[in-house]
């Protein structure tokens, strides 16, 4: 298991362990309130209400997704 944070399959040395999901979202230029955005840590979806209180530890695999055109 890597000691860094992985986002959407990419190891991200620029992300320091311990940042919150809200930080992560904002760092990706997404609206803080996260309309249209969802986050999963190690395969578990994190409710938006817990974004500010949830810290991302080293070795976490993050999936950061949003709504795109489709269907």
């Amino acid at each position: 298991m890597s000691s860094g944070i992985t986002v959407n399959g990419n190891l991200r040395d620029d992300l320091e362990p311990g940042l919150s999901i809200v930080d992560l979202v904002v760092r990706h230029g997404l609206p803080e309130e996260g309309r249209g955005v969802a986050v999963a840590l190690d395969g578990e979806v994190v409710p938006r209400a817990q974004w500010s209180s949830t810290l991302i530890e080293a070795g976490t695999a993050v999936e950061l997704v949003q709504a795109i055109q489709g269907g």
Partner: protein, 271 residues
């Protein structure tokens, strides 16, 4: 649900009732997919012209490259957003995708796609039914993209889906409704709304879907990849209304021979 054939002539044209799904009323029977539009302003214009009240979106990883806010456009348009599970080949993938979408869009409605073949993008009936049962158990309002199989559609309804969405022909093929009798069978039996999904290429095919008893049509490529998407969006809006009206007007029977619309009696004799 087949439109009732109103046998008593009126002298006024009935207003088209809203499409009711899971207790929600949608003002339009045309559902628009957002895929394939080249620009967001084109999408916004197509939404407006089509009169749609609900559009579909997909869930994908955030890309730094992405600019412009799709959700902003859709929220400003005032349409309901229906996330899909496009690209999922197993029940497990589809359920995970649905959960991400529920969190991202704060809706428990989902267009369920479980694909069985990447060339035809046809649904996998067994995986689809399995996924539908699990999603219903998790509190989702499930609108499954299905084959034009009357038995599968009934099973999906029995599993608690709030609508069934049989295909006309493969996604993006523009082949229209390959098996109209199956679609009519599905519409006749269903107790939930039947939404024809996929295959529509032009307006007459959308009208035909409603005439066959479907409650609505879902299409994307037919509009987004037409040479003039806005013009096609307007065509589809009228076609869906025309089809709904015709479907309930009690059409004439199909005959082998002709039936004169003018009496043969009383011809003048001019020697």
């Amino acid at each position: 649900m087949a439109a009732p054939s109103d046998a008593t002539p009126t002298h006024e044209v009935p207003a088209i009732p809203p499409l009711e799904i899971a207790g929600e009323a949608l003002a339009s029977r045309l559902i628009l997919g957002t895929g394939g539009f080249h620009r967001l302003d084109e999408l916004a214009a197509a939404i407006e012209v089509s009169g749609t009240a609900m559009v579909t979106v997909a869930m994908r990883r955030v890309e730094p490259s992405q600019q412009g806010s799709l959700i902003g456009v859709l929220d400003r348009a005032g349409v309901r957003v229906l996330p899909n599970t496009a690209g999922c080949f197993t029940a497990r993938e589809a359920i995970r995708t649905a959960e991400l979408a529920r969190e991202a869009l704060e809706t428990d409605w989902v267009k369920l796609e479980v694909i069985g073949d990447d060339r035809t993008l046809l649904p996998d009936p067994a995986e689809l039914l399995d996924a539908a049962e699990q999603l219903v158990a998790r509190g989702f309002q499930v609108l499954p993209y299905a084959t034009d199989d009357p038995v599968l559609c009934r099973r999906l309804e029995e599993a608690g889906c709030v609508a069934v969405m049989p295909l006309g022909s493969p996604i993006g093929s523009g082949r229209g409704i390959a098996n109209p009798i199956n679609i009519a069978l599905i519409a006749e039996r269903a107790q939930v709304p039947v939404i024809l999904d996929a295959g529509i290429g032009t307006a007459s095919e959308a009208a035909q879907a409603l005439e066959l008893g479907c409650d609505a049509v879902l299409l994307a490529t037919a509009v987004s990849r037409a040479s003039d998407p806005i013009r096609m969006a307007a065509a589809m809006r009228q076609a869906v209304e025309a089809g709904w009206l015709a479907g309930g007007a009690g059409r004439i029977p199909v005959r082998t021979w002709a039936q004169a619309s003018t009496t043969p009696e009383g011809m003048a004799d001019l020697g």
